[in-house]
C-alpha cells in the first residue's frame, strides 16, 4: 500500500506546480489517478457484533427498534421492520437514543439526602439500604393505620408497569396511584368514555380513511403516537391509489397543518362549536348515517325517560343552537367553509375526526371534555365507529388475571379512602388529577401525606405552575424519586433511586393505535452501565422486605419473571418474543353493529352506571348519572354555564381565561417532534441541536407570533421580549410565523430546565411556569390553554 500524501508534501508539490489554473488542472489529473495498490473497501471489523430488539421510550409511540451492539456498546438504533407502529422507521429521538444511554449526567447509584432539601448534598447508599428504608416507612404507615398516606405519582408507565404500580399501592393499602394522564390524554379518554362507553383512546384507521379532520391533534409531530400517525398519513397520501384528504383545525399550523390539504386557523378554545356546526349541516342535509344514529345510538332524537319526562336529543339541540352563521361568529371560520367541510366529511366515507391524544388546544375550563365529545360524535354521526377507515376500539392481549390480593384489613380500609388528587370527589368526573396534588398536599386535603413516591414523574417541571410542588413538598415528610437523571423534582427528594434507561431494562409495551392486540418487549441491550435498578424490581424487593401480607401479593422473584408470567397468554414463547421484540395478532377484526362482540368490546364495555346496551351516547347517560342530581349552583361551581339537558349534550362552553383584556394573546405551549415530551430528552445534545428546525432556532426557546400582531406591537423578528401572564413572566425572543392565528402565541415545551443535566440546564424558558395552575373543576384536567399573556419588548 502506498503512503498517502501528507498535507506538508502536498504544499511542497503545489509550490513546484505554481498557481496557474492550467497547472492546477494538470495536478488534479495526477492526483485523481488512483495510486497503484491503494485499498478500496471494508476494513475488518474490530470486534463482536450483534443486534438486540427492543422498544423505544422517548415518546409514547412505542416504536420497535433493533439495536446494533458492537464490542458491548450500543452504537446505532434502527426501526424494527416487524413492529407494526413504525415498520422499520425511526424518528430523530429514537435515533439519538444512544445519547441517553451514554449521557454523562445520568445518576449512577442510589442516593440519600444529607443536607437541606434541594441543597444537592447526598450520600451514596446501597440498594439493600434503600429497600429497607422504603419498606420500613411503608410498614410504619400501615402500623399507624394510615397506609393511604403513601401516594405514588407516575408518568409514562408502559405495559404491565401501570397495573403493577396500581397493585403495589393497593397491596400497601393506598388508593393513590396517580397518573400524569390529566396533563395529556385524559380529555380524549374521558370523552370516549362518556360517549362510546370505552375508557381508552380511540384508534384511527388512517390507512383506509378518505377524509381526515384533525382537531388540534398535532398528528405528525407530537400527538399520543406520532410515528403511528405518520405511518398512517404517509400511506393514505401515497401508499394507495386514491390520495385521502387531510384538514387540520388548529390556531397553529405547525408541520401537521403545513402537510395538510387545508388548514383552518380557528379561534382558540372553540373547536366544540365548529364540530357542532359541522354536525348541524350534516344532520340538516340528511347526510347522517341513519342506521347508526337510529339503531345503535342513544339520545339522537328527543326522548322521554322512565318517569315520562321529556328530554332534548342531540339532533334538535344542534339544529337549534349551532347553525353555521352562529358558529362562524364563535370560531371565526366562515359559514361557507363550515358547510363545505361538513359536506366533504359526510360525503367522502370513510371519514374520521381525530382527537388530540395530548392537550392540544382542547382543554381549558370544562371545555376540554365537551369539545372532545363533540369531535368524537362526528364519527358516530357519519357511522365511522368500528368501520374500515374510521374509529377502531383498541384491543389488547388477554392477560392472565392478577392473583387475588391476600386478605389484609389494614390495606382494605386504606384503599377505600378518598384519593389525594380529588378524583371522583373534588373533581367528580376525574380519574386522575396529577397537577392538583400540589395544592392538596399543601392544604392537607383530604389527609396529610406521609410518603410520596415518584416514578418517571417530574411535576416540578412538567405541570402548569409546577413550583407549587416545591412548596407542597415541605408538607411531605418523605419523598422517593425513581429517575434516570437528577431532575427538577428529584432534587427535592429524600431518596433518589436511579432507573436504568429503556435500553438497559426489562419492560413490556402494549401496542396502541392500530386497534389489534400487540405487545413489544424492552430488554437490556447492553449490561446496565451503572448501579441502577428497574423500579419494578425495586418495588418487588420492597414488597418482600415488608413481609406478609404485602409480600404475598407479589409471588415473582423479579420483574422479568413477572413479565414472563403475565405475558404467557399472548401465544408466543418468551424466547420468541425476545428474539423478535414484538408479537401481535395483525389484522383488525371488526365487530358487526349490535353483535355480542360489539357490546363487549366496542360500545359501552367500560360503562359503570349506565346500561351496556351497545348504544353510542349522543346524550351522555354516564354524565347524567354523574351530574344529574346537581342543582344549577353546583353545576356553576363545576364551571358549567348550562343547565338542564345541555349538561349531558356536547356544547360549546366559552373558555374562562386567566387574564383579562390587558392580556391579548392565548399562550399555547407546544410539543416538538425534536425534544418531545420527556425532560431527559432536553439533555440529549443532538436533539437540542435540531430542536427549533421550523424557525431555524437551536439550543433555545422562542415565542412564535403572527407578523401582523407583531407589527402592531412594533416587534421585529428575533427581538427580545417579555411574555407575561397573571402568573409570571419569561424573557425569550420572538419569531414571526405567518401561519399562526393572530390571537395566539406559541412557546415550545421542554426548555428552561433548572436541572436534569449540563445540556438541559439554564437554556431557554419553561412556558408552563406562567400558565394558569388551576385544574378544570369537573374533570380535573390541567389547564394548558386558558392562559392569556401580553408580550412586550425586553
Amino acid at each position: 500500500m502506498t503512503t498517502p500524501l501528507t498535507r506538508r508534501q502536498f504544499l511542497k508539490l503545489t509550490a513546484v506546480a505554481g498557481g496557474s489554473a492550467a497547472a492546477m488542472g494538470g495536478l488534479q489529473a495526477v492526483l485523481n489517478a488512483t495510486p497503484a495498490g491503494a485499498e478500496e473497501g471494508l476494513l475488518a471489523p474490530s470486534g463482536e457484533e450483534h443486534i438486540v430488539p427492543s422498544v423505544c421510550l422517548l415518546c409514547p409511540s412505542g416504536c420497535g427498534v433493533l439495536v446494533r451492539v458492537a464490542d458491548g456498546r450500543a452504537v446505532k438504533l434502527e426501526g424494527n421492520p416487524m413492529h407494526p407502529i413504525n415498520t422499520g422507521s425511526l424518528c430523530p429521538k429514537g435515533q439519538a437514543a444512544p445519547e441517553l444511554l451514554y449521557n454523562p449526567d445520568r445518576l449512577t447509584g442510589p442516593l440519600r439526602r444529607v443536607g437541606e432539601r434541594g441543597s444537592g448534598e447526598w450520600e451514596p447508599i446501597t440498594w439493600d439500604e434503600a429497600v429497607q428504608i422504603v419498606a420500613q416507612k411503608l410498614n410504619d404507615l400501615r402500623a399507624a393505620g394510615h397506609p393511604e398516606r403513601a401516594a405514588c405519582l407516575y408518568g409514562e408507565t408502559r405495559g404491565q408497569m401501570r397495573p403493577f404500580i396500581e397493585r403495589f399501592m393497593q397491596a400497601v393499602g393506598s388508593p393513590n396511584a396517580i397518573s400524569h394522564d390529566s396533563l395529556n390524554i385524559e380529555a380524549a379518554k374521558l370523552a370516549t368514555y362518556y360517549t362510546q362507553g370505552v375508557y381508552d383512546l380511540p384508534a384511527y384507521d388512517l390507512e383506509n380513511s378518505n377524509y381526515v379532520l384533525s382537531f388540534g391533534a398535532n398528528l405528525l409531530e407530537a400527538g399520543r403516537t406520532p410515528q403511528r400517525m405518520v405511518s398512517g398519513y404517509s400511506y393514505m397520501r401515497r401508499g394507495r391509489a386514491e390520495r385521502g384528504k387531510v384538514v387540520v383545525i388548529d390556531p397553529r399550523q405547525g408541520v401537521t397543518g403545513a402537510k395538510a390539504d387545508e388548514w383552518i386557523p380557528i379561534v382558540p378554545g372553540t373547536d366544540a362549536a365548529l364540530a357542532l356546526g359541522l354536525a348541524n349541516v350534516i344532520i340538516r342535509s340528511g347526510l347522517a348515517d341513519s342506521d347508526f344514529v337510529h339503531n345503535y345510538s342513544f339520545g339522537f332524537e328527543d326522548f322521554k325517560d322512565g318517569e315520562g319526562k321529556s328530554h332534548k336529543g342531540f339532533k334538535e339541540f344542534v339544529l337549534q343552537n349551532y347553525p353555521p352563521s352562529r358558529v362562524e361568529q364563535i370560531t371565526g371560520v366562515p359559514a361557507t367553509t363550515i358547510s363545505r367541510l361538513a359536506g366533504e366529511f359526510a360525503g367522502n366515507p370513510p371519514a374520521v375526526a381525530i382527537l388530540p391524544g395530548k392537550g392540544g388546544l382542547l382543554n381549558g375550563s370544562i371545555n376540554g371534555l365537551y369539545t372532545a365529545m363533540a369531535v368524537h360524535m362526528l364519527n358516530a354521526l357519519v357511522g365511522s365507529i368500528e368501520t374500515p377507515g374510521g374509529v377502531l376500539a383498541q384491543r389488547y392481549f388477554p392477560c392472565a388475571d392478577w392473583p387475588q390480593l391476600p386478605p389484609d384489613p389494614v390495606a382494605e380500609r386504606g384503599r377505600t379512602a378518598e384519593r389525594l388528587d380529588g378524583a371522583g370527589a373534588r373533581f367528580p368526573l376525574a380519574r386522575h388529577a396529577y397537577q392538583a396534588v400540589a395544592d392538596h398536599i399543601s392544604e392537607g386535603y383530604p389527609y396529610p401525606v406521609e410518603m410520596l413516591f415518584l416514578y418517571d414523574a417530574n411535576p416540578v417541571y412538567e405541570v402548569p405552575g409546577g413550583t407549587r410542588f416545591v412548596e407542597a413538598f415541605q408538607k411531605a415528610p418523605f419523598i422517593v424519586s425513581c429517575a434516570s437523571f437528577m431532575d427538577e423534582t428529584a432534587q427535592y427528594a429524600d431518596l433518589v433511586l436511579p432507573e436504568p434507561t429503556f435500553l438497559e431494562r426489562w419492560q413490556d409495551d402494549a401496542i396502541e393505535g392500530l386497534g389489534y392486540p400487540g405487545v413489544g418487549l424492552r430488554q437490556p441491550v447492553v449490561e446496565p452501565l451503572y448501579d441502577t435498578l428497574n423500579t419494578g424490581d425495586f418495588l418487588l424487593r420492597v414488597a418482600q422486605a415488608m413481609g406478609d401480607p404485602v409480600a404475598g401479593a407479589f409471588p415473582w422473584s423479579n420483574f422479568e419473571e413477572l413479565l414472563k408470567d403475565r405475558l404467557k397468554t399472548i401465544g408466543a414463547e418468551w424466547e420468541t418474543l425476545k428474539e423478535l421484540g414484538v408479537w401481535m395478532i395483525p389484522g383488525y377484526r371488526f365487530a358487526r353493529r349490535g353483535s355480542e362482540k360489539w357490546v363487549a368490546e366496542v360500545v359501552g364495555r367500560d360503562r359503570m352506571s349506565s346500561p351496556r346496551d351497545g348504544r353510542f351516547d349522543f346524550f351522555s347517560r354516564e354524565l347524567n348519572c354523574a351530574l344529574g342530581e346537581l342543582g344549577a349552583d353546583e353545576l356553576k361551581a363545576l364551571g358549567l354555564s348550562q343547565a338542564g339537558d345541555a349538561v349531558f349534550l356536547p356544547h360549546h362552553e366559552p373558555v374562562t381565561y386567566a387574564g383579562n383584556a390587558e392580556y391579548p394573546f392565548t399562550l399555547n405551549v407546544i410539543t416538538l417532534m425534536s425534544l418531545g415530551p420527556y425532560s431527559a430528552a432536553a439533555n440529549m445534545p443532538t436533539l437540542q441541536e435540531i430542536s427549533g428546525m421550523t424557525v431555524g432556532e437551536r439550543w433555545d426557546s422562542w415565542l412564535e407570533m403572527n407578523p401582523e400582531a407583531a407589527h402592531e406591537l412594533e416587534l421585529r423578528n428575533k427581538d427580545g421580549v417579555w411574555v407575561e401572564s397573571p402568573y409570571g413572566k419569561l424573557k425569550t425572543k420572538v419569531r414571526l410565523v405567518k401561519s399562526l392565528h393572530p390571537d395566539v402565541v406559541n412557546l415550545p415545551h421542554n426548555q428552561g430546565h433548572t436541572a436534569v443535566g449540563r445540556w438541559a440546564r439554564n437554556r431557554g424558558v419553561n412556558g408552563l411556569e406562567i400558565l394558569n395552575p388551576a385544574s378544570e373543576p369537573a374533570t380535573g384536567l390541567a389547564s394548558f390553554t386558558n392562559t392569556r399573556v401580553k408580550v412586550y419588548k425586553a
Partner: protein
Amino acid sequence: MPRWSMVIDLDKCVACQGCSIACRMENNTPIVSPSEAALGRSMLWNDVFPLRAEEEGAIASAKARFLTRPCMHCEDPPCVKVCPVGATYQDDEGLVRQNYTRCIGCRFCTVACPYGVRYFNWYEPAWEDGLDQHLNPDRVEGRGVLEGPAVRPKGVVEKCTFCIHRLHKARARAEAEGRDFRPDEYVPACVQTCTGKARFFGDLDDANSTVSLLAQSRRAFRLLNEAGTHPKVIYLHEG
C-alpha cells in the same frame, strides 16, 4: 456498475429530521456548541429546514414548506472541479467522495457546491465524557485512506457519502455468502429510518428500479437543475 440515486417524495416527508439524526449516528458527525450552531455550523450532512413562506396573502393561505437535503451526488459535481488537490472525486458508481487525508481545508468546494451540503470542521471533533461510546466503529477505505464514518480531523471538509460503508458492508456480506451483490441490498441510513417512508434508493441505470420509475413521475424535479450539475437526488413535488 450501479449508478446510485435517491428519490425523496416531499408529499410523504413530514420534516421530522429522522434522516438528519440517523445520518449523525451512522456517520459520527460531531455535535457543535450552541454558539457555533447559531452561526449555522451544525454538522448535519442531511439538514432539514423551512423554506421561506410567501409574506403576502391571507393567513389561511400561508403554508410552511420544508426541505430535507442530502448531498445530490451530482453527475457533474462542481465541487470536484474546484478541488485543487483532488481530495474530492467521483467514483465509478457516481458517488461523490471525499479523501480526508488529501483535503487541505481550503473550502473551495463548500463555496462551489450550490446546495450547501459540504461541512468544514472548524474544531477538533469531541464527545464529552463518554458520549463517544456510541460512535460507529465501521471503517472503510477509499484509495488507501479512511473514509466513511471514521471521525474526521479538524480542518477538513466532510459530506454525505450515501453511507458508503454500508455499501461496502453489503458487498462484503454478499461475497462472504458466495453470491452476487444485488443493488437492493443496500440503502443509506436516512432511507432506512425515514418515518414517512418518503425516501427511495437504488440504481438509476436499472430501468425497472423504484428510483428509475419514480424519476419518470410528473412530480419529479431536481434542485437547481439549471446549474448543470445533474443531481442524482430527485425530489417529488407535494400534492
